[in-house]
Symmetry: C2
Subunit: 421 residues, 2 copies
Amino acid sequence: MALVVQKYGGSSLESAERIRAVADRIVATKKAGNDVVVVCSAMGDTTDELLDLAASVNPVPPQRELDMLLTAGERISNALVAMAVNSLGAQAQSFTGSQAGVLTTERHGNARILNVTPGRLQESLDEGKICIVAGFQGVNKDTRDVTTLGRGGSDTTAVALAAALNADVCEIYSDVDGVYTADPRIVPNARKLEQLSFEEMLEMAAVGSKILVLRSVEYARAHNVALRVRSSYSNDPGTLVSGSMEDIPMEDAVLTGVATDKSEAKVTVLGIPDKPGEAAKVFRAIADAEINIDMVLQNISTVENGITDITFTCPREDGPRAVEILSKLSREGNWSQVLYDDQVGKVSLVGAGMKSHPGVTADFTEALRDAGVNMELISTSEIRISVLLRESDLEKATRALHDRFDLGGDEDVTVYAGTGR
Amino acid sequence: MALVVQKYGGSSLESAERIRAVADRIVATKKAGNDVVVVCSAMGDTTDELLDLAASVNPVPPQRELDMLLTAGERISNALVAMAVNSLGAQAQSFTGSQAGVLTTERHGNARILNVTPGRLQESLDEGKICIVAGFQGVNKDTRDVTTLGRGGSDTTAVALAAALNADVCEIYSDVDGVYTADPRIVPNARKLEQLSFEEMLEMAAVGSKILVLRSVEYARAHNVALRVRSSYSNDPGTLVSGSMEDIPMEDAVLTGVATDKSEAKVTVLGIPDKPGEAAKVFRAIADAEINIDMVLQNISTVENGITDITFTCPREDGPRAVEILSKLSREGNWSQVLYDDQVGKVSLVGAGMKSHPGVTADFTEALRDAGVNMELISTSEIRISVLLRESDLEKATRALHDRFDLGGDEDVTVYAGTGR
């Protein structure tokens, strides 16, 4: 008997009809001879509606109270799914994060899981019951206050329970039926991948793939929990994320796909003295403001000797704040100028095959050249190449790379929409 | 420094605007030098909406899951009120029923409070914080499952916390500004009472006054918690419910008011053998079906010797079921007939003054006679007279009694709407 953890996103639970469909799948999984633990996100737009309500009574609500508020969303979907499963004649029992033993740090709004003590779940499973657990939430180990896990929290709940219960697989259901070689809205013949390694999935998530949240993939990799990305609208087996890149025989390693990202902005500081410590001032100031930077470029000193420029990318939502901070530093340090550009996009090619196939970078840059796309920044890892370019060139570049590396399938796929929390 | 417990009903919390108004009042109470504990019902129609959702996934949802679902409503209002209070610069902290130490029996959907251990609330109060507690919910002492307290549960939560914390007063806020001598929609010059005893309030609640739920008044009386019924829309001091009828000097005892009730139906069983045990069969069958009966009349045996009739009233929603059960018994026992009538109403006069004023019953019946109203059943307690009559006569009878016993004030009052949970 296998133990299957299933996580259903908000769009999979957005109506009574969808909840009944999810219940059918849960019961079918149980009847196929598996033990089943289900993790639910809040229904559809519930979380956004609750956030709106909060904003209307307090523009800066205390995080502890926000957590108390938002966790109600998952309790609702959780109880409804348990009811729907019961109506099909199976035995289900719902659990809050606290009841499921999800113990976290005290950081409200973005707590980390410290430990999972799934004693009550195990008891319930032993009694033949299906466990339905509210995702996204835990309980502060010390104060017993309710906490939330931040973006992608329900995925993380599912992976953490799968690890703690030693589950055979953790299935992540949304309205997307797997991991694709590119966004099918941009590349119609994008191909669904049958399998990829944790490292490849991590790179894809890090550079813009919205299918899985980086943090849950990291957790799955650390605890070796096999993930399966599936659609709650079909019976397609989806995409399996498991195993290390190291285990793939070199000659079998291939390129995974092309990811796109329009969430970043480019900040450039001109005329910084090219001496030790000046660049550090820039990055310390940005770090102190808790702004994450992604790509970085320091120009070779220009003809006016001893002066350089620094360019980096950061989330667009943090861009104006970064500019404000750096403009202040710029005045103090007599730097020449701070430039801001949020009309940029990033395209990345990911794949373990990159290691064993020389010439990928050459092919990459030639493909963009042939498409008439200018590159503004380049960054690479062992299994990834990313370039920053004009946002208006992003789709053209994505298609050019997808074609050049022959990633497509024979057929065009049906376009999908966004994914749940 | 006094300790004030305030309970706000659903209509007082139905929008962000109303929540901010409630927060203003809470902070004002704190600033006046009181410790404050607040108990919140779910916002507006939340509970009904959740019940509809439940019905759409399972026509008979398991009670445990229904409790998990419904308690989300109070968590939402609870967190929002805490946020609104915080936005006014006061410190507030929200608590679930479980966090507030409300320990109950295991009966989901209608649990009884076994014990209240308000240690966390006391700590929070000692730190100068305002405590906001989710009403209507508790936690099963043994299993730690979430439970709900049934109808009027938030009132009961408030009274139980007031008792456990030894509060000076428990204020019950709704859209009604006190206890009236009659429903102002029926009797325009109904007068708001400044004060009444627990016994009088119990009788009023038992015979149709919707202001306070019987169970919470019983709890308040048992623990001697002074209740104040107030409106969240005004600064009117409302009505104080406190003290025993025994403490009122005889000569000061007055009549409290006239209550009306349209929620009952009348069931009559004709032609029952007038011998020991036959009537008991009727009431045992009704009790086994968990149907509450209110008024009862057994006729004097009629001319056909040894045959009698039994009439009783029960909630209208249970009427058809009662008739079905008794019709079956009737066929088995060869009784002649079962009659059902749900076009009845009940009018009651309540007041400690009844004990010391002979002739109240005579005045009562004469008032109805003068109004041309026929009485179908009469029942009395030490401080109450109730009669069953045609539903269409109910308002006429109420006005006649209110006039006869001179209960009205000099002015007509503004008509109010229903009250929250």
